[in-house]
Every structure is written in C-alpha cells, then in structure tokens.
Amino acid sequence: MADLALTLFPANARRTGRKLLRNRAFVAGAFLVTLVFLAIFLAPLLAQYEPNRMQIRMRFREPSAEFWFGTDNLGRDMFARVLYGGRLSIEIGFWVVMLNAVFGVAMGALAGYFRALDNPLMRLSDALMAFPSVLLAIGIAAILGPSTSTAVIALAVVYIPRTARILRASVLVVRELDYVHASRAAGAGDWHILTRHILPNCMAPLLVQLSFVFAYAVLSEAVLSFLGLGAPPTVPSWGILISEGRSYIREAWWLTVVPGLAIAITVLGLNLLGDGLRDVLDPRMKIQQE
C-alpha cells in the first residue's frame, strides 16, 4: 500500500517514503503484514503436510519439531491448517477492501460533491451504522446463507458506510479549494472535476481507512466463521479453526491459541500500518511538518 501512495503522490514520493521509513508504527506494521502474507502465500512450500490430511495416530500432538503448531483431533497438521486458513481470511479481507474502494468511494464522492445526494446517501449510511457491526453482518449472512461470498457481502455492507463518510468529509474540503474553482472556470464539467481534481486529492485518508477496513474484515470474518455464518467448514478459515478447537480447549490449548494469535498478529500489523500511513499522510500533520 505504501507503493500505491508513492505512485499517487510522485512529487512528494521520496519525501513521503523517507517519512514512512522513519515512522516506527509503519515499519513494524509493514514487517508483520509482510511476514503473515509471505507465510500464507508460501504455505505449500512451508507446510510439510496437507491441511486436510488426517493421521489418526498423531491426534492431539503438542507443538513439537515435527508438528510446529501441534495436531488437531483428527491428527491434521495445525501449521498447515493455519497457513492455508489464512488464505481465506486474507482473500475475504481483500474483496471487502475492493468493494469498499468502489462503492464506499462512489457513495462518499457523490454525497460530498452533489448537495442534493448528500442527505439521502448519508441518512442511508446512518441507518446502516446504527446497527452494531457484527450484528448487522450476522443478520445479512444469516439471510444469504453461509458461503465465502456471503461473508464478503455482509462485511462490505458493514464497512462501506464508514468508508463513504471518510471520503465525503475529504470531498467536502477539497471541492472548495481554489484549484477546483479554477478548473470549473476553465470549463471543466462535474465528472471531470470529481475524477481528476477531487478524488486524487482524497487518496491519503482513503488509503488509511482501507488499511483499517482490511484489519476489521479479517477480524469480523473470524467472528462470522466462529459462529458458523462464514465460509463452509470444509475450508479451514481462522474463525473456523478456533470454533473447532473450542471443544478441546482444556486438553489441546494450541487448537484455539495458534489461530487466535494468527488473527491478532495480522490485525495488529494492519492497524500499525494504517496508523503509520495516517501519521505521515494526514494533511494536518503535513502542515506541521512543512
């Protein structure tokens, strides 16, 4: 995501890059996120066993040199299951971020730019935000039935209003700036002004928000899966792993603790990343530093 910020602000690219590298939160977050992503995408190389291969004689093995994260009640390698399970979490997080980037941005930009749309769109988002987020996601997932795309849709509906709000606030500021007026005086139309002048200047808060959405989506997906409303149980996601391990929590602590730690590290990394990005890209901080 840092690279994206750099290409969007090439003028300040080097300066922004240096500031990011000096920001401890950003560096720590980037380190954790990279670690998690590498582990997940290199899972076939790292894991010795197939995630669904049962070895009944090996069941409930404690973490050891052979089974780094132990084995579960069917003798499946937890190391493989956690790495493969992360794929689904990250995939769902990714799609939730994408839907946010499209619909949240569209909703926020329209509400911020066109006065007539502001009230209807923002009241709609108020209505959605009035529900506790997990409750809303559970409701939507329960209606649509458990599947991966259900989880994506449910979480997107929960977070899109939040992204829309952030973007609307930025658009409200940028649309009153002199270069927007100047562009209108040069004969530019609404669409042109919105896409060429306003949105590129709203990128910094959007990137920060999307990094948080990613973190929340990973967390909420685990909640949904734990409750049996996420992905089908044949695919091990982190939430499902915790849910399955719950029955044996007294005998085999690693079945719940290890996927729990995976979630914690991923969310912590993404949050640190977002914090660092915010500190460096926040317009108020920028003014202070210049």
Binding site: L8, F9, A11, D178
Partner: protein
C-alpha cells in the same frame, strides 16, 4: 454601445443567508469592448468579484442567485444559457485567473499536464500536440526553459511562476475575454509589476479584452483603459482612465483617490474616508455612500440616486455632481 464584446445590464445577484436575502450585486451595468482593458475597482465586499462570477455562472446556487439582468457576450446572454453551453464558453471564449496562485493549481499533477488539460477540455488534441502547445504557452508567459519546467509540480514553483502558469492555462484556448480577479494581490510588488507588464503584452499581442478586478488604484492606473468603480454592490462611477484620475465626480471615487499616497504628498497622514462599508444585509436607504459623504444632504438618503451621464463614457450615480466638480487632485 453595440460594439461591446460583453455587455452586462442590470445584473442583480443575491445570497440567501440566515437573516434573509442579501443583495451582493445591485443593478450593475457595464460594457467591455473587444480588445479593451476595463478595471472593476472597489473595496472587499463591494460585489466586484461576485459580479464577475455571476457572469460566468460560477457562483454556487444556492445560496447565490442571479435575480435579474443580462450578460450578453458575442451576442448571446450568458445568464440564460444552458449549463452545458456555458461550460463551452468558460475557458474557451472567456478565460479567468484567480487571486491565489499558491492554491489555484492541483498539487498532484505536473503543470504541463494541467495546461494540456485545459486544451483537452475544449479541443480534440493528441498528447504530443498538447505537450508542444503547453511548452509554447509556458514560453509565452515568460517561464524560462519551458520544456524542462513542463514536468514540474506546482510546489516546485514560486508564487509569481504559478500565476504565470495560471495565465498560460487561461490563455490556452485563445479567449476573447480574460477576467482577472485580483491577479496580483497575493504577490509581492516587483512580481506584481512583471505580471502586469506580461498581461499588457499579451493583450497587445492577442487583441483580447480584459476585465481586471482589483482594489488597487495603482494597478488600475497602469492597466485599464476604462474603470468601473463599485461601492456596496452598485456602480458608483464609470470613466475613462484619465478622467477618473483627473476629474472624478463621485465623492467615493474622490475619497479613494484622496486616500492613495503619492510621491508629491506633503501631509504626514493619509486621508481616509470616514466610517466603513455598510452591512450588505441592511444597507442604508437611498445612496449607500450618503452616511460617509461630506456632500450628502437629506435627499441623498431618501432615494437611490440616478446615474448621471457627465461626458462620453463618464457616468456617476450621484445627485451632487455639481458640488463635486471642484475636486483637486492631491
């Protein structure tokens, strides 16, 4: 007056405010002829910028609303024109530059790109051609080594340079009229002079007309052929430049000139106009300048003074032009 390029008649613009409707521009008329430089001068809040923005349909509606009047440009009324057609005139037939060069350029695009953009808005033009035109434009507004500057970002340029870029953008499509809203106010004096020279040169080269909005008498003196003085949303006086400085007839114009320092000045203190600009939400009845005017009598506050034609191209909205005749320049 039929040779006017832009003919503004009875323009009245109001803002909806919490305390009701505020008339910012009240029944204002003036002409800009082809190739002519007209100065629109007045204090902050006199309605000069609002008048210009009304003409181009650039005021946010609501709260602003043009209540009456017309602005005929090249034979067509801009105020009655559909938004889409007006957009084709903005930037192509009428260019505009603003007060704040520091913030009038988009920080995330190089300046060459922004000049090319103003070309692309009105013409079908390829990237290579747009780039060449942008270089030529930068060259024309006096930016050294234009081809290297093309890929610079706004923050790499000084205020004066940025205003030159703004002028290049405004001139991209060879407009017939350039509206400059306080183009030099935010710049320091030496840069101001350079830019005014540049604008004058460009006007001579291209033959475009110019409407210069300012509060600076010095800028007007260097620049305009004709001057429209605005006070509290109305035209106080209109005169050719020499007449305005030698024989102004409206007491407000006289007060403005009296308050301008000159090299020959012997007094230690500048003269000022007593009082301050009236509240636009509750303007005084009759002549709006009456409460501050040393010539005013009871009748001045009773009714709006009619515009009196004093000579060709010289008019003043004042009942007491007989009494103001004996004005002496300081």
């Amino acid at each position: 007056m039929s040779d006017a390029l832009l003919s503004v008649r009875n323009l009245t613009t109001a803002f909806a405010t919490e305390s009701g409707r505020t008339i910012a521009v009240d029944d204002v008329s003036f002409d800009v002829r082809a190739g002519e430089a007209v100065g629109l001068i007045g204090e902050s809040g006199s309605g000069k910028s609002v008048a210009a923005l009304s003409i181009l349909g650039l005021l946010p509606t609501p709260p602003a609303r043009v209540l009456a009047g017309s602005a005929v440009f090249e034979g067509r009324d801009l105020l009655q024109m559909p938004a889409k057609e007006l957009r084709r005139i903005r930037g192509k037939r009428i260019g505009m530059i603003f007060q704040e060069p520091m913030t009038s350029l988009n920080p995330v695009f190089p300046i060459g790109e922004q000049i090319a953009e103003s070309l692309r808005l009105h013409e079908r033009i390829g990237n290579e051609a747009a780039r060449k035109r942008a270089i030529a434009l930068l060259d024309r507004v006096g930016i050294p080594s234009a081809s290297r500057r093309l890929d610079d970002y706004p923050h790499q340029l000084s205020g004066g340079m940025r205003q030159r870029v703004m002028i290049a953008i405004a001139l991209a499509c060879d407009p017939k009229l350039l509206i400059a809203d306080e183009p030099t106010t935010a710049l320091d004096v030496t840069v101001q002079a350079q830019l005014l020279d540049l604008l004058n040169d460009l006007r001579r080269e291209t033959g475009m007309a110019m409407l210069l909005i300012t509060h600076n008498m010095g800028v007007i003196a260097e620049f305009a052929d004709r001057v429209v003085v605005m006070y509290s949303g109305r035209v106080a006086e209109e005169a050719p430049i020499e007449t305005l400085f030698d024989a102004p007839r409206h007491p407000y114009t006289q007060g403005l000139l009296g308050a301008t320092p000159t090299l020959a000045q012997t007094e230690a203190r500048l003269r000022t106009i007593p009082g301050s600009l009236p509240d636009p939400a509750a303007p005084p009845p009759g002549c709006r300048f009456a409460p501050r005017c040393s010539f005013a009598d009871a009748e001045c506050s009773a009714a709006r003074p009619a515009e009196i034609s004093l000579a060709v191209g010289h008019r003043a909205a004042c009942r007491r032009t007989d009494a103001t005749k004996n004005w002496q320049a300081a």
